[in-house]
């Protein structure tokens, strides 16, 4: 009976959640999405502008934590759930929040990242160059000091401080930021040891073997 409430974005987010959660069903959950279910809000605002009555169901699901809340209800799990949106830094914000929970002593945290193409008439706010598609991914995070540990740091400045003579070429692949982060995470030891993600006056630095 819960499934009927969930649209495409929620379905792919929850699919990823259920699959990743299997290995640590007690892990607290962070749902993170840059735009969330924006299409629903656009639809509600359009109806409002036409003085049409709003769908109570759609209204109740238009908040950013609705997908996480439905997941919590469907699992009958009253433990910690969070919903995060932080623009282009959404993945970094989610991982930072996860580090906070791990530092508090939680053994594992599940992070779920999900987004859809920005709907009309807001599509010009999208910074990806046409390579947007509905997607969701989820992972379990645990604190580690071992050789496989990843580090995430935030630094001031728009230039890579340690290699000013060789500025990295701007990323032109047009992928949304969360998928670039995923690419760094899944390429493992064979991939780059570092990925810098400049946002405004900050540089997020993802590192392995650091």
């Amino acid at each position: 009976m819960m499934r009927r409430r969930v649209d495409r974005l929620g379905r792919i987010a929850l699919q990823a959640s259920y699959q990743a959660h299997v290995d640590a069903p007690d892990a607290p959950v962070l749902f993170a999405s840059r735009y969330g279910d924006l299409g629903r809000s656009v639809e509600l605002l359009t109806q409002l502008a036409r003085s049409e009555p709003l769908s109570p169901t759609s209204f109740s699901l238009s908040v950013h934590n609705a997908i996480g809340a439905l997941y919590s209800i469907a699992r009958g799990d009253p433990s910690s759930y969070g919903a995060i949106a932080a623009g282009e830094e959404t993945v970094e914000a989610a991982f930072t929040e996860a580090c906070g929970l791990l530092a508090d002593g939680v053994p594992r945290v599940m992070v779920v990242i999900y987004d859809e193409p920005v709907p009309a008439p807001l599509q010009h706010f999208s910074e990806s160059q046409g390579l947007e598609f509905p997607h969701a991914w989820a992972c379990l995070l645990a604190a580690s000091t071992g050789a496989d540990a990843l580090h995430l740091g935030c630094h001031a400045g728009t230039q890579a401080a340690e290699a000013p003579e060789a500025p990295e070429p701007p990323e032109t692949d047009g992928l949304p930021a969360d998928l670039r982060a995923l690419r760094f995470l899944v390429t493992g030891a064979a991939g780059a040891s570092r990925w810098e993600h400049p946002v405004g006056a900050r540089r997020w630095r993802w590192e392995r073997h650091a």
Binding site: M1, R4, S55, P56, T57, S60
Partner: protein, 87 residues
């Protein structure tokens, strides 16, 4: 009345996105909420809006009355047949 019951079943299924149900699966005398179909308070609001759009019935804010009208498909059909302003 049977026809109206069938119509309301279809309205319930479409409005509430009950994708696994057919009209014949719904017992017109069974409770719609909590037991029976297992609908909740958001469904009640959604259904109220759909009934208003389709039949022009206006629901009072009296929750006791509404609870009676929303008890089952049959009760809804009774309510709609006596209060409808749209055909």
């Amino acid at each position: 009345m049977l026809e109206l019951e069938h119509e309301i079943k279809r309205l319930v299924i479409e409005t509430l996105n009950l994708e696994d149900l057919k009209p014949d699966d719904i017992d017109p005398a069974a409770p719609l909420f909590v037991e029976g179909l297992g609908l909740d308070s958001i469904d009640a609001l959604e259904l109220g809006l759909a009934l208003q759009k389709s039949y022009g019935v206006v629901l009072a804010s009296d929750s006791k009355e509404n609870r009676r009208h929303f008890a089952s498909v049959r009760a809804l059909a009774d309510f709609v047949s006596t209060h409808r302003t749209k055909s």
